[in-house]
């Protein structure tokens, strides 16, 4: 019953991911990245992970997409990829290599290492998640806040004008 919706979202997500890596203009790539992230948020909703879907929209499709667009506007790049390519032959080698990688991953998933058990409890809302975060995962949760603070300070140190 959900399968048509899943197929639609899968096509949207894969298509926008291809748009990210194939388009010349970085701003178009950033827009397709936003579409991709929003599509993954919809997939989270289908997986009954409502809180993650919300966070995905706020953090990824909101903050990270804005950061990317901001960086593109500051840098105005995109001129470099028109020059001569020193690694042209190696770049075409990437396509079959990625094909082999994808085949390997799919084979591993089909090999029986991943046998989904039927979901034990249907309680997949927000409540089990925050209960888990504030009990078993409390230490990683607090370490995450330290990490975010370190990133904040690091970015300030990286981008401030050097005092001469």
């Amino acid at each position: 019953m959900e399968i048509p919706g899943f197929v639609l979202l899968a096509v949207l997500v894969v298509g926008s991911a291809l748009g990210v890596i194939l388009l010349r203009n970085p701003i178009h790539s950033a827009l397709f990245l936003t579409i991709n992230l929003a599509g993954v948020a919809a997939l989270y909703l289908m997986l009954k992970a409502q809180f993650l879907a919300l966070i995905q929209v706020i953090v990824y499709a909101g903050a990270i997409a804005v950061l990317f667009v901001f960086a593109i506007m500051v840098l105005i790049p995109g001129k470099e990829e028109t020059g001569p390519d020193p690694l042209h032959a190696q770049r075409w080698l990437a396509v079959p290599l990625v094909g082999v990688l994808l085949l390997e991953v799919l084979l591993i998933f089909r090999s029986g290492a991943f046998q989904p058990a039927p979901p034990a409890g249907a309680a997949m809302g927000v409540e089990p998640l925050y209960r888990l975060l504030l009990t078993d995962f409390l230490f990683p949760f607090e370490v995450t806040s330290v990490l975010l603070l370190a990133a904040l300070v690091g970015v300030m140190a990286l981008t401030r004008k050097k005092a001469s």
């Binding site: 019953m1 890596i21 058990a117 990286l158």
Partner: protein, 100 residues
């Protein structure tokens, strides 16, 4: 209900697309976006596994991955902007030395 293996296969495809983007593009910003694609694919697999398992552990892990990805994007973009201010060019093939 859609079987979780569909979601896992989709995340494998997304991850492969991200790897392809890192390998074939030269613009560090696009490479960065491809890394985000890969992190997202990993998150999708985590949530799908968590759904198959029936607990919330997969979602908790995905939440931590998101926090790390946010920090990584902020620091990475700051580094890219600094490199651009230093060199006025932006191609990963030319950034083969660490010193400015």
């Amino acid at each position: 209900m859609t079987p979780p293996s569909y979601y896992v296969a989709l995340s494998a495809v997304l991850f492969a697309i991200g790897v392809l983007g890192v390998l074939i593009r030269r613009d560090p910003l696009i490479i960065f976006m491809s890394i985000e694609l890969m992190l997202n694919a990993a998150n999708l697999a985590l949530v799908a596994f968590g759904r198959a398992h029936g607990g919330a552990e997969g979602q908790a892990l995905a939440l931590f991955v998101m926090a790390v990805a946010a920090a990584e994007v902020a620091v990475g973009l700051a580094i890219i902007v600094s490199i651009f201010q230093l060199r006025r060019r932006l191609s990963v093939d030319e950034l083969s030395v660490m010193r400015g």
